[in-house]
């Protein structure tokens, strides 16, 4: 049976997730400026920055997929991951999909006139995908919590 403390915890987790995701999405997109600096830097620092970005993107994707009380037991997870949350996540994925498609199409056109490296292309597409999905999911969750 679900206890009041489970409900309280689930509510807290849902609200925290709704607050954090749009911020994380914006921060992730804004943080990309660091990776596109023109100045030459030692190979070791460049490799570290690349690995850090990849880890950051993967952590955010894992959070998007599993930050629903997955490590708090089945009862709390069922409360956090209700039907509305699952539908909102699917809509978040849809936004991420379209953001990636738009970024890829735009880059393909840009690449016809100005060469883009493979790494830059992957970077921009994945950033658009992750950032858009997080912002959309977080915004929908906030709206759902506000509407009760």
């Amino acid at each position: 049976m679900t206890t009041p403390s489970d409900i309280d915890l689930a509510d807290r987790l849902s609200r925290r997730r709704a607050r954090m995701f749009p911020l994380l999405g914006i921060y992730f997109i804004a943080g990309q400026a660091v990776f596109f600096r023109q100045a030459e830097e030692p190979a070791r620092i460049a490799a570290f920055k690349i690995s850090a970005w990849l880890v950051w993107a993967i952590v955010l994707l894992v959070a998007l997929a599993f930050a629903g009380g997955h490590f708090r037991g089945a009862k709390v997870r069922a409360l956090v991951e209700d039907e509305v949350s699952r539908a909102n996540r699917l809509r978040g994925y849809a936004t991420g999909f379209w953001a990636a498609a738009a970024a890829a199409i735009l880059l393909y056109v840009v690449n016809m006139f100005e060469p883009v490296t493979g790494r830059e292309a992957i970077h921009l597409i994945l950033t658009a995908l992750v950032g858009a999905a997080l912002i959309r999911f977080g915004t929908l969750e906030r709206r759902a919590l506000r509407d009760g």
Partner: protein, 152 residues
């Protein structure tokens, strides 16, 4: 109110869509080999057309996925084709497209650490995986929905 012909017509179109989308996805995937033989910055007109044609192809498939193929049909037929189950199936297809794009991007990123990948190749692979993954999933789910509806 929808008359019987609208219902029948929408059903026929919907079944055709469910049959066609996975085939289109496979043709799209299989057709990629010809695009990787050209130069990175196409100078010849024929290469420029080839590069642009792929983009047009991808955009057409994305429009097809988003519209459900009923773009030039009447509002009634479109509404019948776009029922709740189809909308849910499309969202599930987008989620698969999302994850295949992620998989392709992360995989390519690792590859770039050992081997150089051009911008065009990277965009090509990621978008192809996303579009084909979403189309395959949507078509498969729609086929399953039609089969389940037909069963007594």
């Amino acid at each position: 109110m929808s008359d019987l012909s609208d219902v029948e017509y929408a059903d026929r179109l919907s079944r055709r869509r469910a049959r066609m989308l996975p085939v289109l996805a496979i043709v799209f995937l299989a057709g990629q080999a010809i695009y990787f033989s050209g130069p990175e910055m196409p100078a010849r007109t024929v290469d420029q057309i080839k590069v642009s044609a792929w983009l047009v192809w991808a955009v057409v498939l994305l429009v097809l996925l988003a519209s459900g193929g009923g773009l030039f049909r009447s509002r009634k037929v479109r509404a019948l084709m776009e029922d709740e189950s189809t909308i849910a199936n499309r969202h599930r297809a987008y989620s698969l497209g999302f994850w295949t794009a992620v998989g392709a991007a992360v995989g390519l990123y690792v590859v770039t650490m050992f081997e150089s990948v051009s911008g065009r190749e990277a965009i090509h692979i990621i978008l192809t995986m996303a579009v084909a993954g979403a189309l395959l999933m949507f078509g498969t789910l729609e086929r399953r929905a039609h089969r389940e509806r037909a069963e007594p």
